[in-house]
């Protein structure tokens, strides 16, 4: 079971994530969109949506450092485990509150708000919101449950994730990971599977090139 969850499933998920996204971009770009619902119901998206995205950016930054940067690198930089843990809590908890709080506002709007939002919510969207909710809650609870710092994910989860990326999965690293963290792992893999099929793809379209282009675009037909 562990071999499947941490040795096989990540590859299934990442393959679908990368392959599916490429296929969607190449053949189905026409439906590549943010799927914005502001047009249908505007006032109630004023706070939830920006908060959610702000929390997301902060949480993404934290995960990037915590997962991809090996422990010895931060320690070489003079940050011992205790300091690192305090710093990650100081950044992670506010990020989590914004992220989860924003998401709850979004959920309330979508499922208990304007009746018009139904046309913007497909069945797949419902699954997406469920998985996203479990991901956020499990991540938040895992962080809170680990405030004392008894579990060091940078000795287990992070090296495992990097080993997955290096195509040498070390499943044994995940053996004694607490349940909440394990749930969080399953969740991201599910999210990766859902990614190419849902509105999540719009995060790849952040319009950075906008800063560098001229105002008026001319194109030949």
């Amino acid at each position: 079971m562990m071999a499947f969850l941490y040795g096989v499933l990540p590859y299934i998920a990442l393959t679908i994530l990368v392959g599916g996204t490429i296929i969607r971009y190449t053949y189905f770009e026409r439906n590549w969109t943010t799927k914005s619902s502001e047009f249908l119901s505007k006032g109630d998206s004023k706070w939830g949506n920006p908060l959610f995205h702000l929390g997301l950016v902060m949480a993404f930054g934290g995960h990037f450092v915590g997962v991809l940067v090996p422990k010895f690198v931060t320690e070489m930089g003079g940050t011992d485990e205790h300091t690192y843990h305090l710093m990650s809590l100081a950044g992670g908890i506010p990020a989590g509150i914004l992220f989860l709080g924003g998401f709850l506002l979004i959920l309330k709007r979508r499922f208990a708000g304007s009746a018009r939002l139904k046309v913007n919510t497909s069945r797949l969207d419902c699954w997406l919101y469920l998985v996203l909710l479990v991901t956020l809650v499990s991540g938040m609870l895992a962080t809170l449950s680990n405030i004392p710092g008894t579990f060091d994910y940078r000795e287990t989860i992070s090296p495992w994730f990097r080993s997955v990326l290096l195509l040498q999965p070390e499943v044994s690293l995940m053996a004694r990971v607490p349940v909440l963290f394990q749930l969080h792992m399953i969740c991201w893999m599910l999210l990766a599977i859902l990614f190419p099929f849902t509105r999540l793809v719009h995060c790849l379209s952040f319009p950075l090139e906008y800063f560098f282009r001229r105002d008026i675009i001319y194109r030949r037909k």
């Binding site: 249908l40 008026i216 030949r220």
Partner: protein
Amino acid sequence: MKIKAQISMVMNLDKCIGCHTCSIACKNVWTNRQGAEYMYFNNVETKPGIGYPKHWEDQQKWKGGWELKHGKLQLRSGSKPERLLKLFYHPDQPEMEDYYEPWTYDYESLISSKRKKHQPVARPRSLITQKRMEIKWGPNWEDDLADGESVRQDINLKNMADEITMEFHDLFMKYLPRVCNHCLNPACVAACPSGAIYKREEDGVVLVSQDGCRGWRHCIPACPYKKVYFNWKTNKAEKCIFCFPRLENGLPTICTDTCVGRLRYMGVVLYDMDKVKEAASEPEAGNIYHRVLDILQDPNDPAVIEAARQQGIPENWLKAAQNSPVYKMIKEWKIALPLHAEYRTLPMVWYVPPLSPITRRMEADVYLPEVQEMRIPLAYLAELFGAGNAEVVAKSLQKLLNMRQVMRCRETGEELPPHLAKDAALYQEMYRLLAIAKYKDRFNIPAGLSEQSQDKLHQLQGTCGYNCPGGC
């Protein structure tokens, strides 16, 4: 000098009867589908009125178009970083309420209803929620001043210096058919974060690439005319495409073709692309019109023709530009004016302002009314078509009156006043184009197949369609 060709349109509002044939034709051809029910690429508004979507002309509210900030041209919705912060919630984006919620009627109940004491009725049902709804606003709620309250809220009335009475005997109204203006300096194009909106090099038509659009929605508030719409089904932006498949075949747009009053004209104008930004940056709003006239180039000037050829503009396009009905009305006769030039997008759909009946207090002993004596206040028309500059509107109206007087004298055999006699031929030509012009005179659109693409088609001969031009 960098010459570009632009397909342009003129509407002679003097002849618009507000029949909505253009809107219906357009609706049936382009927006008769889910997600687009509420869109009118072409709509006709009764002015004064708040319009569709509500208060679209109020740029304090929507922040549409461009403004001069410290002398520099900038989108009114802010700088690029400011606008990217609005990706997640755009405070200036109109929502469905600002247009209207589309509906249908339960027609089935008329047939399936059991025998009852009262006749069955078809009650309205929302096309969005599929639930019963009460209709409180529609795409043309103010038709013929039907909604008295909203009429008074017209921002142009507020911007006029003098008070307008809505007393019955002084009431005035006019119709304003609106399509996308396919501007020379389009704010929607500049606002699109994804770069999905573009102006076609060949004919200046502004289009949204449905592949490139990511649904960031910045074009919608940026367009001061509110002519870009959000499709709630595809979640992408859509707009009037100037019926480009028809243009490419040398036909006018469907709204133009079906116009009952034959008040629309279409043709080619040539403009100097290098001077567009300069014209849009003119400090005095009332002068933008003159600056636009300056960048429209004379198609008979050899230097312009040479420059146009260098830009690869085909010969049939040059010929069309030389026989362009719209160029005549815009630049030679100066009777067509841009709508709200103060938005600084340099619209390429132009309007001949309407004459109107004489006011009651001027009624006695009038032969032909003076411009100042007409029911639609000059100041009101100046807000719409002169960016506040009443002089240009008065000149245009005076030309229309002169034309009438010349033609009247011809009918009655009276002698022409000397100031008109010298231009009699010009006014007769104007009369022919404005009153009795045939289809081919009103529209001169070169078919899109240029010589180059003709050559490509020749190369294709005998390939049974298995190759495509250029070989792929």
